[in-house]
Subunit: 231 residues, 2 copies
DNA sequence: GGCTGTCTGTACGGTATCGTACATTCAAAC
DNA sequence: GTTTGAATGTACGATACCGTACAGACAGCC
């Protein structure tokens, strides 16, 4: 595998010392992830772990009788598979590609080997796992108490942080599943944000027009989570 | 510190090889935890970690403008502080004593030292941390979709599993905070469970009268979580 | 035995969202 | 250019729960 610049788009990889990075990249494959791809299933073994470069992955929790609901987002700042640190090869949640793009893929066994030899990788994954734990607790309370409009704004901001442009593709239907609400509730909330000039959208293409405004509308959960980003 | 039988009430400790256990117990102090004690605060450093013997601890996530809400329960099957594995000395959630009783207390630094020398302890903590991660995702969806009655039944069952009797002490007010609902909603839901002969209660003393019946009323989230218990 | 504070029962208007249905708009395919 | 399907707009009764208020019941204290 080539170790060219694009791999540095992933912050976790970019943070590795060169020797560790090159060793890790030897086990990685460049893959293109398509919208809707399912990368792992809740309570089933991971097949691969992924370091997103431009792709965006949603973690989703599911339950009988309801469509899976979004609980976290993973982009180039992190990776899918941090829970492999935790003495289990099972995925705690489903992982779905919410933004098509490139990622580095590594087998579970290769990742585990790399962990033994790369203390920096281990440390980074630990930090991100901590962040996920804090975030999941926060999301529970957020989902319970905050209204659709604020939660929608939060999800759009989290996506924007991981997108590489001021626009991306998500339908109301998809967002409704993420937030665990009716599609029509998303349409109404989106309409308000559009009216306010904060976002624009048409047939799945969403534009972030006024980030500061969106942050004002979003619940504090968005900022609370950002504060946990290392550095 | 004495290494008498009572310490084996904690499953995590009981599972250690004798040498590792005795070494760990040297750093532990027997403490009595009182109802309502706050053992750590969300996003603040842990002072101590705790291995409950008979005490029960609630993990609670909080947010401005709302009372903290329960997201998990810790009893003799586990410990408070598993996230110390994750390269951070901060607690992801608040921890409150929901059932008075005994626990073993250990300082963060002593625990970290013990981790280096006890691979079994490390492994157990990793497993429980995985379980917590899965549980937090599950709880998010549960809180969103399941009704108060089912969630109340789930919480009572989780408490019962960690209590050492068929009765324990929790007021409607306290349960309301745990579930993130109004106190009056808990009174109504409890009334239904009492009518059905599943539980009894009076002035804070709750009796589990029909466990199987409660399990039938509780959402599947209760069983989903139990399946993750090692063994 | 009466007082007091806590716990529980109950009521009731208000509201966010549900669940569902149907109309409209637009992009792409034919 | 027309058809088709997906995406979006809108409506509306139903419902679970909110927020609040107040009354009753019980335990402990003086």
């Amino acid at each position: 595998m080539k170790a060219g610049r694009p791999t540095l788009q992933n912050r976790l990889i970019a943070g590795l010392p060169q020797a560790e990075r090159e060793s890790l990249l030897h086990s990685c494959a460049d893959v293109e992830l398509n919208f809707g791809d399912k990368l792992c299933s809740q309570r089933e073994p991971y097949i691969y772990a992924y370091f997103p470069l431009t792709a965006i992955i949603s973690l989703m929790a599911s339950m009988e009788g309801h469509p899976p609901m979004g609980v976290s987002i993973i982009g180039h700042e992190s990776m899918l598979g941090v829970s492999l640190l935790l003495a289990s090869d099972l995925a705690p949640q489903h992982a779905i590609v919410q933004g098509a793009g490139m990622a580095l893929r590594i087998s579970v066994s290769d990742l585990c080997e790399a962990l033994v030899e790369s203390p920096v990788l281990l440390h980074s994954m630990q930090r991100y796992c901590f962040r996920l734990t804090a975030q999941l607790g926060q999301t529970t309370v957020c989902t319970r108490f905050h209204q659709v409009e604020a939660r929608l704004a939060r999800w759009l901001l989290m996506t924007h942080d991981r997108a590489h442009a001021d626009h991306f593709y998500l339908t109301h239907e998809f967002l409704a599943d993420m937030l665990g609400v009716q599609r029509s509730a998303v349409t109404i909330a989106s309409g308000v944000l559009k009216q306010g000039g904060l976002i624009g959208y048409s047939r799945g293409r969403i534009s972030i027009l006024d980030r500061a405004g969106l942050e004002a509308v979003a619940c504090e959960c968005y900022m609370a989570d950002r504060l946990l980003v290392p550095d």
